[in-house]
Amino acid sequence: MTDTAATERHIPDRLSRPGVRLLRSWEALLLIVAVLIFTANSFASPYFLDAWNLSDATFNFTEKAMIGFAMALLIVSGEIDLSVAAIIALASTAMGAAVQAGAGTPELLAIGLGVGLLCGTFNAVFVTVLGLPSIVVTIGTMSLFRGLSSIVLGDQAYGGYPADFAWFGQGYVWWVFSVELVLFALLAVGFGALLHLTNFGRAVYAIGNNQTAALFSGIRVRRVKFLLFLMTGLMSGLAAICLTSRLGSTRPTIALGWELEVVTMVVLGGVNILGGSGTIPGVVIAAFVMGLVTFGLGLLNVPGIVMQVFIGLLLIGVIALPRLWSRIGARRR
């Protein structure tokens, strides 16, 4: 087994019927898992099936999923961004510093999104203009962005955000539907449309499958990748606004380790980590699965670090199982 073998693709002579394909798809499998977890949770804890409790549970994943959508596109194109959590830290720190200087909510929004965009641009320049591998670049910027945040913040914390700023992370649009949940839904539709219905989306798939072929068929590979990094930065900025607003403070450990959870969510959603395939509906279902798992375990009083073990096992498991499965299948034939 060489690792070059993994990049070879087998194209069947005839596609199976669309209905069968849908039933056998990763998304369908994931949906069944989600329903199973939901059922198990409602039996395990009497507090689970409550509209407000479920609404609270969505906060477990909405912010991560916002980044997850942009990350999905980025991973489909064959790149990765490990600096997203550090961007949240830096954007949140910038907003905290602005509050100390007397900034109001509109300024905070502009600063949050602006810092996200700036960090995204920084990554994009290193990867697309200088042609460096995104994994090392974003490991570097992860350290740099969080480092900048810790220079400003030290071991202190920023607080005192204006009252109307709290709306983004704590407000509700209607009944139990929080602002974040509505934002999540809108972004899911937006990114879904972008990836599945536009030329840009086709270009992302093309680049992920064969970058050279994409280049020769007239796709501006660098420009597409540049935009994808910008989007991921912007979404991290948005997530920083929501998270900061929800917590009401900026601490040095804000969003620590989130890059792992975001990547896990995307991979769990069926996006191939090597690029070339994956869907937004898959990421949406994966977001719910992860949210339900963490929330259910939380109701059972499982500490956060043990949940991380589940997330880690989930990440390796969802990639390992189909490979084991196909290997067993191949042997039988």
């Binding site: 087994m1 790149e79 090392v136 570097g140 350290s143 900048l148 220079i151 670090i305």
Partner: protein, 327 residues
């Protein structure tokens, strides 16, 4: 021969390191006293050991982000064993942590070898799993200095020929790596696998098993460092060496190890580790807040990787392809 050496990564890094020391000496002359430099070397020893293991992994086109968690887990096991049974001799503890570390590393290796899962995904996953396991076995409790036996704590500090055992561990590891890389089939297989996997297969090298060996080696060294770390700082808890995997990767990248695989040297990895270790030790001396350290190592990674790409420009295409792969 001489000009080739002067153009090599090791020569440039040595120059940068000397310049850095000179710069620090302007503000704090006491920093470059031999005694203090030995301290810096001792302080960088864990980083040197781990960077060498990481180099083997990166050279085979993989990456091991679980080293720090592996270190912490082995350190915790050693500390708990010592707290429970103070009579167990150090040699047995050393053997235990190396075997345990190698076993944890081999989990990474098996997943990469047998299931073809991208290394970054595997090690991101095992990184959190290992940390979680530490919490489970320790129940979140610390093992403090007073619970450890005197022998357990004294081992890394014991002086041999004027240098502590911890430093000697780093020196011996570096020496062993020099032999491994240049004198053994496995060492050559590391480079062949990373340089051109297809060609390596045709040359009769089992690339998957080579990657497995690299992960196991990296794990064994992480296990050894785990004990040294815990006994040196005389404390073990869930979060020790948290984020240290980034320093380790940074040391390799600074040392000229190409993340695309196939390029790297023992001298480079050691100098990269020394560079970061010097900065870490110098910051408080020259009155810069330690909070700067993270941003500085981040910038160092970015500068080094940009520099690596320039130095290896002829292989630009190869780098892009494997970058896709690594992601």
């Amino acid at each position: 021969m001489l000009t080739r050496f002067l153009k090599s990564r090791e020569a440039i890094l040595t120059g940068v390191l000397l310049a850095l020391l000179a710069l620090i000496a302007i503000r704090a002359p006491e920093f470059v006293a031999p005694g203090n430099l030995a301290n810096v070397l001792n302080d960088s020893a864990p980083l040197i050991i781990l960077a060498l293991g990481q180099m083997a992994v990166i050279v085979t086109r993989c990456i091991d982000l679980s080293v720090a968690a592996n270190l912490a887990l082995c350190g915790m096991v050693a500390a708990m064993l010592n707290a429970a049974l103070p009579g167990v001799p150090i040699i047995a503890i050393l053997l235990l942590v190396v075997v345990l570390g190698a076993a944890l590393g081999s989990i990474n290796g098996l997943l990469v070898w047998k299931l073809d899962i991208p290394p970054i995904v595997v090690t991101l996953g095992t990184m959190t799993i290992f940390r979680g396991v530490i919490f489970l076995i320790s129940k979140g409790q610390w093992v403090n200095a007073h619970e450890m036996s005197a022998v357990f704590k004294a081992f890394p500090r014991a002086q041999i020929l004027g240098l502590p055992v911890l430093t000697w561990c780093a020196i011996l590891t570096a020496g062993a790596f020099l032999l491994l890389i240049s004198r053994t089939p496995l060492g050559r297989a590391f480079f062949a696998t990373g340089g051109n996997p297809r060609a390596a297969v045709y040359a009769g090298i089992n690339t998957g098993r080579t990657q497995f060996a690299a992960f196991t080696l990296s794990g064994a060294l992480a296990g050894l460092t785990g004990y040294l770390w815990v006994s040196r700082y005389a404390v073990a808890y869930v979060d020790i060496a948290s984020g240290f995997e980034l320093d380790v990767v940074a040391a390799c990248v600074i040392g000229g190890v190409s993340i695309a695989g196939g390029i790297g040297s023992v001298g480079g990895a050691v100098l990269g580790a020394l560079f970061l270790g010097t900065i870490k030790n110098a910051l408080p001396v020259v009155n810069i807040s330690p909070f700067w350290q993270m941003a500085i190592s981040g910038s160092a990674i970015l500068i080094a990787v940009a520099f690596n790409a320039r130095a290896n420009r002829r292989q630009g295409r190869v780098i892009l392809k494997s970058a896709e792969h690594a992601a």
